[in-house]
C-alpha cells in the first residue's frame, strides 16, 4: 500500500525547521545575533514590510534562529506555525491580546499555574478582560460560565499542582459548539506526551523554560496555532474582529482573508509581537533548540524516574495523597490512560502528613532536590506551593485548587532514581524525627 511520506517525532525533534546554513554550511543552527537584516534593494525592502516577500526585517518581529525554533515546535505539535516569545507568560498574553479586547470574557480552569492565575484574575480586569474560573473536571461548569461576550476557553493539559487532566476532547467540543477556540497550556506534557491539537484544541502555548529546554538556563515561551479554527464560521462570525475585519494598523489587512489557516499567527506577529514586543532573543532560541533535540529521550527518562519515585512515596507512612494520574485512585486516571498513554509527566504533588515545621525540615533535608520555583529541569526540584507559587491565593482558592498547607510539589529530573529515592528517604526520616 502507498504510504504518506512523513517524518516521525524523534526525527522532527532534531531536524524540523533547520537546514545546513546556506552561507557557511554550518550543520548546527547558527545564532543569528543581529537586530536587523539588510535589504537587497528598496523594492525588496518595501515588499518585506508589506508582506509581499518572505524574510526578516527586525529581530523583534522575526529572527532566523527563532524561526527554526518556531517551525520545530509547530512540527512537533502538528500545527501550522508558532511564535517564540520572551516567556510562557508572554505567550499567554500574546494569545489573549490577539483575540480579546476590553469587554471580552474568558472561561478558564481554576487549576492553573499561579502566574497565569495572576494575569487572568488580577491584571487583565484592569484592561477590561474578565475571567470566570471553573472546576476543570466539571464540563457543566464550563458550559454554564460561557456568556455572549466569552471569546476563549483556557486550561492546562495537567493542572497545577494537582495534575487534573484536562478533558481536551470534551472541552474543545463544548468550545466549538459555541464558536469559541480552546487555548491549552501544554508546558507539563510537551508534545512528546500529548499533542492537544489531535484532541481538538485550537491554540497551544508552552513555557519553553521547562521540559522543552530541560537545562533550566533560559526563560522563553512558544505560542502555536493549529490552523484549524475557522474564525469566519457562522458560529464565530463577528466575534473575532481582530482577525476578520480590516486592520488599520497594517494596510487594512483582513487576516482571515490573507491566510485561511494562519490568520491568528499573522495578527499575533504583525500586531502583538510588533507592538507589545515580548519577543525571544536568538541566543535563547538556540539554547531551547539544544534541549528539544533530546526531548524524546529525556521525556522517557523523566517519566520512568517519576514512576519509580511515585512507587516509593506510595509506601511511606508520612506521605498522604499523591496526585499522579497514573495512580488508580487519581480522579482522572481513566482519562489519563486515554490522553496520556506515554505517561503523565514528571511533575506531581503529594501531601505530607506533618506539621508545617516538619514540612520545613523535609524540604531543607533534601540534598539532590533543589528548592526553587521551577519545573521541568534536568535536575530534580521541590517546592512548597502554599508559601511560594500560589501564595497570593486565598485559603479558599487554595483549597479549590487542591493545594493544602502540607502539599509538596516535586519535579523529577534525570538523576539515577536510586539516588533520588535515597534523598527522599533521608528527608522523610528527618521530617519524622
Amino acid at each position: 500500500m502507498t504510504k504518506p511520506r512523513t517524518h516521525r517525532f524523534d526525527t522532527l525533534s532534531l531536524h524540523a525547521g533547520s537546514r545546513p546554513d546556506p552561507a557557511t554550511g554550518a550543520r548546527a543552527t547558527p545564532i543569528y545575533q543581529s537586530a536587523s537584516f539588510v535589504f537587497p534593494d528598496s523594492d525588496h525592502a518595501a515588499a518585506l514590510f508589506n508582506m509581499e516577500r518572505a524574510g526578516h526585517v527586525y529581530s523583534r518581529i522575526s529572527n532566523p534562529t527563532c524561526a527554526v525554533l518556531e517551525e520545530r515546535i509547530a512540527a512537533l505539535e502538528g500545527g501550522v506555525g508558532a511564535i517564540a516569545t520572551a516567556s510562557g507568560q508572554a505567550a499567554l498574553h500574546l494569545a489573549i491580546a490577539t483575540l480579546l479586547g476590553a469587554g471580552a470574557h474568558i472561561v478558564a480552569s481554576r487549576a492553573l499555574y499561579g502566574g497565569s492565575h495572576n494575569l487572568l484574575d488580577y491584571t487583565l480586569p484592569r484592561f477590561g478582560i474578565t475571567t470566570t474560573f471553573v472546576d476543570p473536571r466539571d464540563v457543566g461548569a464550563w458550559r454554564g460560565a460561557i456568556r455572549p461576550e466569552t471569546r476563549l476557553l483556557f486550561g492546562e493539559t495537567l493542572g497545577n499542582p494537582g495534575l487534573d487532566v484536562l478533558d481536551i476532547p470534551r472541552i474543545a467540543t463544548l468550545a466549538h459548539e459555541h464558536g469559541l477556540p480552546l487555548l491549552v497550556d501544554s508546558t507539563f506534557t510537551t508534545p512528546w506526551l500529548l499533542r492537544p491539537f489531535e484532541h481538538g484544541a485550537d491554540l497551544v502555548f508552552h513555557s519553553a523554560t521547562k521540559f522543552l529546554s530541560g537545562h533550566g538556563v533560559v526563560i522563553g515561551g512558544v505560542l502555536v496555532d493549529s490552523g484549524a479554527f475557522d474564525w469566519d464560521a457562522p458560529k464565530s462570525r463577528g466575534r473575532f474582529p481582530t482577525l476578520t475585519e480590516p486592520y488599520h494598523g497594517f494596510h487594512d489587512m483582513v487576516f482571515s482573508e490573507e491566510s485561511t489557516t494562519a490568520a491568528f499567527l499573522l495578527r499575533a506577529r504583525r500586531e502583538g509581537i510588533r507592538d507589545f514586543g515580548a519577543c525571544m532573543a536568538p541566543a535563547t532560541a538556540w539554547q531551547i533548540l539544544q534541549g528539544i533535540e533530546t526531548l524524546p529521550v529525556r521525556m522517557q527518562r523523566h517519566v520512568d524516574n517519576t514512576r519509580r519515585i511515585v512507587a516509593f512515596l506510595s509506601g511511606q507512612p508520612l506521605v498522604g495523597a499523591i496526585g499522579y494520574p497514573e495512580l488508580a485512585q487519581h480522579p482522572d486516571h481513566a482519562l489519563a490512560q486515554r490522553l496520556l498513554p506515554r505517561g503523565c509527566g514528571a511533575v506531581f504533588s503529594f501531601d505530607l502528613r506533618a506539621t508545617r515545621e516538619q514540612g520545613r525540615r523535609f524540604i531543607e533535608s533534601l540534598r539532590l532536590f533543589s528548592h526553587l520555583a521551577n519545573v521541568g529541569d534536568a535536575k530534580s526540584l521541590v517546592i512548597h506551593p502554599a508559601s511560594t507559587t500560589h501564595f497570593r491565593m486565598s485559603a479558599d482558592d487554595l483549597a479549590r485548587a487542591g493545594i493544602g498547607e502540607g502539599t509538596i510539589r516535586l519535579s523529577i529530573g534525570l538523576e539515577d532514581p536510586d539516588d533520588l529515592i535515597e534523598d527522599l528517604s533521608r528527608a522523610l526520616y528527618a521530617a519524622g524525627k
Binding site: M1, T2, P4, R5, T6, H7, L12, H15, A16, G17, S18, R19, A47, N50, M51, E52, R53, A54, G55, H56, I61, S62, N63, P64, C66, A67, V68, E70, E71, R72, A74, A75, G78, G79, V80, G81, A82, I83, A84, S226, G227, A228, D230, D232, P246, H251, D252, M253, V254, E257, E258, S259, T260, T261, A262, L265, R269
Partner: protein, 261 residues
C-alpha cells in the same frame, strides 16, 4: 471581494484593492483542494504594484459557494464568466497544478480575453495515482497526507520555510482538511480526465511561462515536457523545489512571474 456568477457567490482575493479599469489584470487559479491563500505573497505583491489581482476560490472551495466543477473545461468556462462578472476585458492567467490546466484551456477557448498565461507545476496528461484517487473517493485523510508528501521536496519536508515561523507541510495539510466532502475526488477527477492539453497548447497564441519543480513528485517536471514542446516558444523556469512551489520558493516564483507578466 465577492461576485455573483450564476447562482453562486465567488470569492476573489484582491489584495484589499478595488479593481481599476486602467490597470492590467492577473487572475490566479489554485490547485486541487486549495484556495486563494496559496498565492498569498505573490498575489499581494502584484496587487500593490499596479495590477488588478483576482485570486479566485474555485466553486466549492474556500469562500466560494457551489459545487466543485467536474472538468477542466468547465473550470475554464467558469473563469471567463468570472472575468465577465468582474468587468475585466482581458487578463493574464496564472494557474497552479489543476489551475494550470484550467488556465491553459481558458486561454485556448477565449484567446481574445487572455494576455499571457503562466503554468506552475503543470503536467499533460496529469495522471493521478490509483492509491490517491481511491483515498480521495473515500474522503480518507490519507489522501491529503499523500499529496503533502509528494508535493514537498525532501528539504521542504523538514521545513526551513522562508516565511518566519510557519511549518510548510502543516499549513498545506490544514488547508486541504478544509475541503468539503468529495471535493478532492472531484478535483483529481478533473485533472485525470483532461485530454485536451496538448491541443490547447498547440492552439495557443499568447506568450506562456512554464514553471516546474525539479523535486516535484506530484507533477514531475518530465510530465510537462510534452506540454512545453506543444507550446509556441514558452519561457521555462525550473526551480529546485517540489510541487508546493509557492510555499517552498515564494520569492523565486514571484521573480519568475515578475519577469514574465
Amino acid at each position: 471581494m465577492r461576485l455573483a456568477v450564476g447562482t453562486d457567490e465567488v470569492y476573489l482575493y484582491t489584495g484589499a484593492r478595488a479593481l481599476a479599469p486602467s490597470r492590467a489584470s492577473i487572475v490566479f487559479v489554485h490547485g486541487a483542494a486549495n484556495d486563494h491563500s496559496v498565492w498569498s505573497l505573490q498575489s499581494r505583491y502584484f496587487a500593490h504594484h499596479g495590477r488588478n489581482v483576482l485570486a479566485v476560490d474555485l466553486p466549492g472551495h474556500g469562500r466560494s459557494t457551489g459545487a466543485p466543477l467536474e472538468s477542466v473545461e468547465a473550470i475554464a468556462q467558469w473563469l471567463v464568466r468570472v472575468l465577465d462578472a468582474a468587468g475585466v476585458e482581458r487578463a493574464s492567467l496564472v494557474g497552479h497544478s489543476l489551475g494550470s490546466l484550467a488556465v491553459l484551456e481558458a486561454a485556448a477557448r477565449a484567446p481574445a480575453r487572455v494576455d499571457r498565461i503562466a503554468l506552475l507545476g503543470p503536467a499533460v496528461p496529469m495522471a493521478v495515482s490509483e492509491a490517491l484517487m481511491d483515498a480521495a473517493r473515500r474522503d480518507d485523510h490519507v489522501a491529503y497526507e499523500l499529496i503533502v508528501g509528494w508535493s514537498h521536496s525532501a528539504a521542504g519536508q523538514l521545513g526551513g520555510n522562508p516565511v518566519p515561523g510557519m511549518w510548510m507541510t502543516g499549513t498545506a495539510l490544514r488547508l486541504m482538511e478544509r475541503t468539503r466532502p468529495g471535493g478532492l475526488a472531484v478535483d483529481l477527477g478533473a485533472c485525470a480526465s483532461y485530454a485536451n492539453g496538448l491541443d490547447a497548447a498547440r492552439a495557443l497564441r499568447c506568450p506562456a511561462l512554464v514553471v516546474t519543480g525539479s523535486r516535484d513528485l506530484m507533477a514531475p517536471a518530465k510530465s510537462a515536457e510534452a506540454l512545453i514542446g506543444a507550446l509556441n516558444g514558452p519561457r521555462v523556469v525550473t526551480l529546485a523545489c517540489g510541487h508546493a512551489m509557492m510555499a517552498e520558493q515564494p520569492d523565486e516564483v514571484l521573480d519568475a512571474l515578475r519577469a514574465f507578466l
